[in-house]
Amino acid sequence: MPGLRELQSDFLAAILGDDAAAAAGARIERELVAGEYGIARGLAIYANNAEHHVSDSLRKSFPVVHRLVGAAYFAQCAREFRREHPSRSGDLQHLGAGFPAYWQRRHGDDGYRYLADVARLEWLYEEASAAADHPPLDLAKLARVAPAAYDMLRFRLHPSLRLFESKFPTLAIWEANRRTEQEPELIDLGSGGERLMLARKGDGIALHRLTVGEFVFLQQIVQARGFTDCISAAEEADVGFSATAALEKFVREQVIVDLVEHRFADPAPWHESAQ
């Protein structure tokens, strides 16, 4: 008689429909009993449930991709994705992490290249939504920093902050297709790329378009660079960059949430999960 692990391995292979499914299915069916509807029909319920849970979770995390490609093609791709990347967690909230890369592999070289970027934006939105909370910056703390200490100043970003860069008008595509009650307007894919910041604001996630300088400035903070280095890099990338305006904007948007006067080298980035 097979042991518990052997039974579970065959049962799972049979319902996930992988390469070993046929042989595992034949073995497990010999170990099972069902009503008059039959063992195969009983197993099919579990197989359908497993497929539905994955597809439904992906549909909820990637509503814009779902709308862009249509329900039937999305379901087909969700099945293919599940075969390539079986779920590794009992918590389905993790499932979509590899989905943007799936679209890149599937459509990275054709006229639907933008789908991978839309999927990437949607996943960053999910990550930002689930990130830890953090109170806004205490402005008195900033006021206490002497100008001579700016060189040693490092900022800390809100845990929900995510940076996004695309050569397509991804935010325009995303905004047009989030409003499901109306037909989306046509968007020219050649109308230019975008640099975005996603961050928690109130009960939601705010998405902001950034200038090159602002984007580089935040990238440098993510990489734990000092304040003056952040400014230098941003000014090098964008002659119009204003450090004062950027600082005011990112404090107001509660993106910069803390600061330290850093006297010694610190190899650890301030905010490792920001991209």
């Binding site: 579970q8 449930n49 779920s87 009992g90 939504s129």
Partner: protein, 294 residues
């Protein structure tokens, strides 16, 4: 009683703070309305995994809701019956959620979902053998030790069963409660669905469950499909509770006494008022039990 059972007596006292009245499964489409209207319902249950996030609006909303209602955290992903090692990351997340929300009840399923690191994300049946009984009881005890709280374990709907089973499902469930010291969450709809599919007497099931272990009851809708050869019932959680399940619920109350009872609805989710109406039906039956005891 197993030694592990005694260590959770303190937890039992805490679980009694859940009223023996009807609650509803809180799903995201209803959260804004619950926050706005604070409907008259005794308690709420959420899926634990939906609140594993470190922060954000969903967590903040449940914090506000928990100020007004007793909560139950109901897990679907711990894969208690799996022969893989316990997923420590999942267990840590559950422990964090329990510390954060301080639920009156915590529950999971008598099932497995994963093996070899791959997850079906569905509740799969166990063979009811002595090997499986020892295995799943050890795992439940380990989870209870990590939580410092008692778990209530729920019976699942079944579409197949193992020929090698040495025990009936009800003997197995009662054995797990005795061995691990866990409580039981008896899903009346699941008993009905499995009984119809696999051909057993649901009253035999109810009669074999130790009433003292029963912490909670579940009610939900199922779907009938005509399969070649015979009708098959599927536990869809997408319809009103069937009349036959209400009848079985009334008999469950006769066996167990009044218990916190949940209305679950997970697919084709209707307006909140429909769930509240189903909860009112459960409350009417619970009221009759309370009146008999008064």
């Amino acid at each position: 009683m197993h030694a592990q059972a005694a260590s959770h007596q303190g937890a039992k006292a805490r679980s009694q703070s859940m009223p023996a009245a009807a609650g509803i499964g809180l799903r995201s489409p209803h959260v804004p309305e619950v926050l706005r209207t604070c409907p008259r319902v005794a308690w709420l249950e959420v899926h634990s995994e939906n609140y594993f996030a470190a922060g954000g609006a969903h967590v903040a909303q449940l914090e506000r809701i928990a100020e007004s209602y007793p909560l139950s955290l109901h897990g679907v992903g711990l894969s208690l019956g799996s022969t893989d090692p316990l997923d420590q990351r999942h267990l840590d997340a559950l422990c964090r959620a329990v510390r954060h929300f301080e639920p009156a009840l915590i529950s999971e399923h008598l099932a497995w979902s994963s093996v070899g690191g791959r997850h079906a994300n569905d509740l799969l049946p166990l063979p009811y053998t002595e090997e499986a009984l020892r295995h799943v009881s050890r795992r439940i005890a380990a989870v209870q030790d990590a939580l410092g709280r008692q778990l209530a374990i729920e019976n699942v709907s079944s579409y197949v069963e193992f020929a090698s089973s040495q025990l009936s499902e009800w003997e197995f469930l009662a054995g797990v409660a005795a061995e691990s010291g866990c409580g039981l969450l008896i899903d009346v709809n699941n008993i009905y669905v499995s009984a119809r599919n696999l051909g057993f007497d649901p009253d035999l099931y109810l009669a074999a469950i130790p009433p003292a272990a029963v912490r909670e009851l579940h009610l939900a809708g199922h779907t009938r499909v005509q399969s070649p050869g015979r009708e098959l019932l599927i536990d869809t959680h997408g319809a009103p509770v069937a009349e036959a399940v209400w009848d079985l619920y009334a008999r469950a109350l006769a066996y167990f006494g009044a218990r916190p009872t949940l209305i679950e609805w997970d697919t084709d989710i209707p307006p909140l008022a429909n769930l509240l109406a189903e909860a009112a039906k459960a409350d009417a039956l619970l009221g009759a039990v309370h009146a008999r005891l008064a």
